[in-house]
């Protein structure tokens, strides 16, 4: 035990003195978090430009006027600045061509009557070249309103088919178009497995760079072999497993410390809340164990420290991106479950649970995934032919 601690302590001392591990484990991920935070903050604070909408609505058509009113009422809603020009069809087209309006809505004559009688009718939207996201917002709203009108048309057709008297149709249409939806969709927040954008950023980078950080321990065996220190260690009166265990311990300590520091700093700097500290600690420990297990496979496959570095980068990026380190990954298909077995995804999922108020009892699935991943990696590494480092 003394020898294990001596070897581990000496290795950790070297890692601290060799700034590479500090750069990879802390500086780079913190820098990326900062950059991503700035980028996504800019997206959150998107400024909408004023938008002019030309509407050609037939005089005396109440439903066409409803459409015009809805668009006019968008002005001042949220960040939208909407100006409506009520024009005839030709003027509407010209304003869009001249760039005086971003979009023209051309409502045909007989629009309201057709809607009430359940007949097909088309509102033409002419979109200008300069139209931006603001015009898209207006179009979405108009599309929604027309959808409601369409539900009225469906009601009319259904009523006629059932033999409802024409005198009662108007009342039915009124009810269908203004009565509001039968079902309400309210935006909510899942109780677990969901991180807000700031926390997802911090957790994603911590998960990704954890895989780089743990490489500094186990793959150090290859560096030791190249420098001759592995031969010297093997000539010492210590069992071979102790050398390997010390490297695994170095990986583990570096991974836990670096991830802990990143999550803590990220919490303060980017306003992320990961919830229960013991539960987060369990997740970090399990993720580090899973990451360390990958290194045992890499050290078996790689013939040199350079190859190990390349393999580590590939594995880290694949698992990191697949696990949602940069952006949420959703997929469909028969192999979707494979993505869920990724330790980075499991870490993010677990941190989502804890940030939503979950405790140790609620993170069983991600913990099981990470530990299972680690066990599988260790088992596979035993099956891969060794190039002399681990034997």
């Amino acid at each position: 035990m003394r020898q294990l601690l001596a070897l581990t302590a000496a290795d950790l001392l070297q890692r601290v003195r060799d700034k590479t591990v500090v750069i990879f484990a802390l500086v780079v991920p913190m820098a990326l978090m900062t950059v991503f935070n700035l980028v996504f903050s800019a997206t959150d604070g998107l400024d909408l430009a004023p938008v002019t909408v030309a509407i050609s609505a037939p005089a005396g058509d109440d439903m066409a006027q409803v459409l015009t009113s809805v668009v006019s009422d968008l002005d001042g809603t949220g960040e939208l600045d909407v100006t409506v020009h009520e024009v005839d069809e030709a003027a509407g087209r010209k304003q869009v061509e001249d760039g005086d309006a971003a979009i023209a809505l051309l409502v045909p004559t007989g629009f309201g009557q057709a809607a009430q009688q359940g007949e097909a009718v088309t509102v033409e939207a002419v979109r200008g070249d300069e139209a931006g996201i603001e015009a898209d917002i207006v179009l979405s709203v108009v599309d929604g309103v027309l959808g409601q009108f369409a539900s009225g048309a469906v009601t009319v057709r259904a009523a006629l088919a059932e033999g409802v008297a024409p005198t009662e149709l108007a009342a039915l249409v009124e009810q269908a178009t203004s009565g509001g939806p039968a079902y309400d969709l309210r935006q909510g927040r899942a109780a677990d497995e969901q991180l807000d954008s700031g926390a997802a950023l911090v957790a994603g980078q911590a998960g990704l760079f954890l895989l780089f950080t743990v490489s500094f321990g186990v793959t150090g065996l290859l560096v030791d072999r190249e420098s001759g220190t592995l031969s010297r260690l093997r000539s010492m009166p210590i069992p071979a497993w102790l050398i390997i265990a010390s490297k695994a311990l170095v990986s583990f300590v570096l991974g836990v410390v670096a991830t802990g520091v990143l999550l803590t700093l990220g919490s303060y700097l980017f306003d992320a809340d990961f919830g229960s500290l013991p539960a987060v600690a369990v997740l970090v420990v399990c993720a580090t164990a899973a990451g360390t297990s990958v290194m045992f496979l890499i050290v078996r496959v790689a013939r040199s420290s350079e190859q190990a570095g390349i393999a580590t980068s590939i594995v880290a990026l694949v698992l990191g991106i697949g696990g949602g380190a940069f952006f949420p990954v959703s997929s469909t298909g028969p192999f979707t479950w494979v993505l869920d077995l990724n330790p980075v995804a499991a870490l993010l999922r677990g941190l989502g649970t804890t940030s939503g108020g979950g405790g140790i009892a609620d993170i069983g699935v991600p913990v099981a995934i990470m530990l299972g991943f680690g066990a599988v990696m260790l088992a596979v590494s035993r099956l891969v032919p060794d190039h002399g480092v681990l034997s």
């Binding site: 003394r2 070897l7 000496a10 070297q14 003195r17 220190t229 031969s231 093997r234 000539s235 010492m236």
Partner: protein, 312 residues
């Protein structure tokens, strides 16, 4: 006293290549044994098995009476290995390197501290002990590399080509250190492809080539294998042919070959005969301008045994 190291019929194969083929030798306490051979002869593979780094396909290694294999730990307490590479940690200081490997050898407490300071003095790094070893010169790193092997006062010190790539000054210091160690009773196994190092340091020498121990013995024993004859070459003017007739009559002179301005004598013991040879030649009116003595060396032995030079 029992031999510190007994290597018996050691074999190691890498695929179709037999790198070590039935090598056997012994080293007594206080003896320095040299494995002399060119690169690729099997020296490092042999040492790897002796130090317990590599398993043998056949044969045995016994260190201080205990069988050495990669999985055994007890015999390794008796061994100090100085690998060919600079097996030190560059981000640790000289003192930290020594302390780490001392702990791994089982030293601790005051014993460890005392030994670390003693070795630092011995290898001349006491004043640079706190500096990281990556800041050391090549020679200083070599000395630290050797110091780590000496730290726990092993019964058997194994040095694998410790002077490769070393400047002449550091090389001289290393050779002096090794000479001092054998004087202290430590058994030393020293591999080299430098003939002069083997001649200077080793009590006995094993000549290894193509994985086989071609011959072993003291320097003189090895030289006797090829007949053990010296040559005296005389360069001069005058009656060299007449002098040659008289020179052939000197006891110990086996053969005299003459050229126009030179004569080459094959003799048993050149240093003992040179004065008589020079006197005889000058008494015949030969004016000598050059006298050169050549004795057979290990290079000659190697050439004789293998048909190639040590640096081929």
């Amino acid at each position: 006293m029992a031999d510190v190291l007994v290597v018996d019929s050691l074999v190691r194969r890498f695929g179709d290549l037999t790198a070590v083929d039935g090598v056997s030798f012994r080293i007594a306490p206080g003896e320095t044994y040299g494995l002399l051979g060119p690169n690729g002869a099997g020296k490092t593979t042999t040492i790897s098995m002796v130090a317990g780094l590599m398993a043998a396909d056949a044969g045995t290694v016994t260190v201080a009476g205990e069988a050495m294999t990669p999985r055994t730990t007890e015999p390794k307490r008796h061994v100090g290995l100085v690998p060919q590479e600079l097996a030190i940690y560059p981000d640790l200081s000289g003192r930290e390197n020594l302390a780490l490997f001392g702990r791994l050898q089982g030293l601790r407490g005051s014993e460890l501290k005392v030994r670390v300071e003693e070795v630092l003095e011995l290898i001349g790094l006491a004043d640079r002990a706190k500096d990281r070893s990556k800041e050391y010169s090549g020679g200083m790193k070599r000395r630290l590399n050797i110091g780590i092997g000496l730290l726990h006062q092993p019964t058997l010190l194994i040095l694998d080509e410790p002077t490769v790539g070393v400047d002449p000054q550091s090389r001289h210091a290393i050779l002096e250190s090794v000479e001092a160690l054998s004087g202290e009773g430590m058994a030393v196994l020293y591999t080299t492809h430098y003939m002069e190092e083997a001649e200077r340091l080793c009590d006995r020498i094993g000549i290894i080539d193509s994985g086989r121990l071609q011959a072993e013995g003291t320097r003189d024993e090895l030289i006797r294998l090829i007949g053990g004859v010296d040559t005296i070459r005389l360069g001069g003017t005058g009656d060299l042919a007449g002098a040659a007739e008289e020179l052939r009559l000197i006891p110990g002179v086996e053969r005299v070959d003459t050229e126009r301005r030179a004569a080459t004598l094959t003799v048993k013991d050149a240093p003992a005969l040179v004065a008589q040879v020079v006197g005889t030649a000058t008494s015949y009116g030969v004016t000598l301008f050059d006298v050169e003595i050549s004795r057979p060396d290990l290079e000659s032995v190697f050439l004789h045994l293998t048909g190639k030079g040590l640096r081929d």
